[in-house]
């Protein structure tokens, strides 16, 4: 039954890029990239009990790693593979000291990391400074550059599939069980011989790698990167997606990313209708993030996916 649902979902999502009108394809691509980043956040928050308010920093690091290497002549496919590696390394460097922090301290520290990165990117001439990095070539697969949205839609699909598969395996692994124990009681888990600190760092790096991989695709897709592409709100957005979908579930990130992206998209169209004030799109999307986040935390504290699961059990 489960396998069938998964296969059906895969078939539908694979058919969508061919069925959707051209103008909706960017939304499809960005939605899947958001889901990829969110999968990492969900792993981090749901299994390792760490709140990250700076996850988009690793998205940016991946994007810049791919973009810079491509600009400097590295084959784009290698650039795409470099992106998650660099992001994960950055996470290890940053995480080694910062993961000693807990709870709101860690949340704030990750937010600080994001702000520091933004400022470094804005001032670093190597990264194009405030103007950004331009002229990133498109991703080439087997010698053919991907120029249209459909190609990127399938790349993003494959990336998300890989990430979800890895998540699934991590959750079922020894390390996954150890982490869940640690999220419950760290001292008890440590006393039981679980190398808590090491696992936490591994998950942190893994979640950064997810974000970095998505960032790599993003860099090639847009062909342009600037500090303004990675605002603080992006980090918050993925937390909203993770919380709304349901932390510590495999499908939660996809559901959360879909709900938020589509809602924001719908409101954006509403907000840019003629006659609407210029601030309407921004105000509407802020309001949506805010109200959804508050409503979910207050009324569905475990998120949409677990809540639906409970409902279905109740009715069947």
């Amino acid at each position: 039954m489960r396998t069938r649902t998964v296969l059906a979902a895969a078939a539908v999502t694979l058919a969508l890029p061919l069925l959707l009108p051209e103008r909706h394809l960017p939304v499809y691509v960005l939605l899947l990239l958001a889901a990829t980043v969110t999968a990492g956040v969900s792993l981090l928050m749901g299994y390792a009990g760490q709140v990250s308010l700076g996850q988009a920093a690793f998205y940016a690091i991946g994007a810049y790693a791919a973009g810079l290497s491509a600009v400097h002549g590295v084959p784009t496919l290698i650039g795409l593979l470099v992106a998650p590696v660099v992001a994960a390394l950055a996470a290890v460097v940053v995480g080694a000291p910062l993961l000693r922090l807990r709870g709101h301290h860690l949340a704030f520290a990750t937010l600080a990391v994001h702000l520091i990165l933004l400022s470094l990117l804005g001032q670093g001439t190597w990264a194009g400074g405030a103007i950004g990095l331009q002229g990133i070539p498109p991703l080439s697969l087997a010698g053919t550059p991907l120029r249209d949205d459909v190609g990127y839609a399938y790349v993003a699909w494959a990336v998300l599939a890989v990430v979800l598969l890895i998540s699934h395996n991590v959750v079922d692994s020894r390390a996954g069980r150890g982490l869940r124990a640690a999220a419950g009681s760290e001292i008890a888990a440590a006393a039981g011989g679980v190398p808590v600190g090491g696992y936490r760092l591994v998950v942190f790096a893994l979640s950064a790698a997810f974000a970095g991989l998505a960032g790599g695709v993003y860099a090639f897709y847009l062909g342009y990167l600037g500090p303004g592409s990675f605002p603080l709100l992006l980090s918050i957005e993925v937390v909203v997606m993770a919380v709304v979908g349901g932390l510590g579930t495999i499908t939660g990130p996809v559901v959360g990313a879909a709900v938020i992206t589509l809602l924001v998209q719908a409101l954006n169209e509403l907000g840019t209708r003629p006659g609407m004030p210029s601030y309407a799109p921004a105000a509407l999307s802020y309001a949506v993030y805010a109200l959804l986040l508050i409503a979910v935390v207050r009324y569905l504290p475990r998120g949409i996916v677990p809540a639906v699961a409970v409902l279905r059990k109740g009715t069947s």
Binding site: V51, P97, R100, H104, F108, I116, V243, Y286, L293, R298
Partner: protein, 286 residues
Amino acid sequence: MSDLLGYLLTGLGIGAGFALVGSGMVVIHRVTRVVNLAQGAFAVLAAMLTSALLATGLPHGLAEGAGVLVAAGAGVLTGIVAIGRPGTEPGAALIITLGLGVLAYAVEVTVWGDQPRSYAGLPGAVTLGGARIQAHYLLVIAVTLPVFAALMAFFRGTDPGKALTACAENPYAARVVGIDVRRMGLLAFGLGGALGGLAGVLLTPVQQVTFDSDVTLIVNGFAAAVLGGLTRPGVALAGGLLLGVAQTLIAGYGGGAHQLEIALLVMLAVMVAQAVRAGSVREVAR
């Protein structure tokens, strides 16, 4: 030499604002264990409202007072949403305050637009020991110090202040003696809102405010607050002043745009050092 004095006073002025934001977070955190990420929004809200009221011709003083009052009200509302439900975990409440901070963006952009705003503060400049500094910075310092003195007197010398501390020390015992812990939490949120609002109305004449200025304020405020482990308002004052002075000195002596990073790095270093120390204490205790 005279440069130095000028930087010091300017830094103290800016730092006083950070200290107000930070102490607001401390007041809320020690009573409710919630890290209030909407704290910067109180400042922005108060500043925007004050600027709008001044534009309608309301005199200085009244406009600022109204801004602070509304910020206090916003604080109470934040508290109601964040901790109003019995059994809300501090972690969940943190996410809720984050949501409320973003909601404030929507409100501010809708009501006041997304352009920076400012208004005139105390006019003129003062020459002190050869240094010319804007008089408004002195006003900021002159308001902040008595406010902190009053805050200390409130916590140390009045029963409601002690009751707030009691809720922080032992919420169960507070309920045993009949203190309404939830109401005290809301009082703390109101107080935190007022302190944040005061920071906003005081700083706006020297640092214009946009709807997302709350990020800078909250980062610096949190950095100040975390020095005192988020429980000691007095340390938040010292921390805020230190940060303000350090940033002004860095900017003044050529550090240019790196002020925020330095504040952030200091904050991270302090937090990690505190965590390491707490960790080693825990290990010794075992």
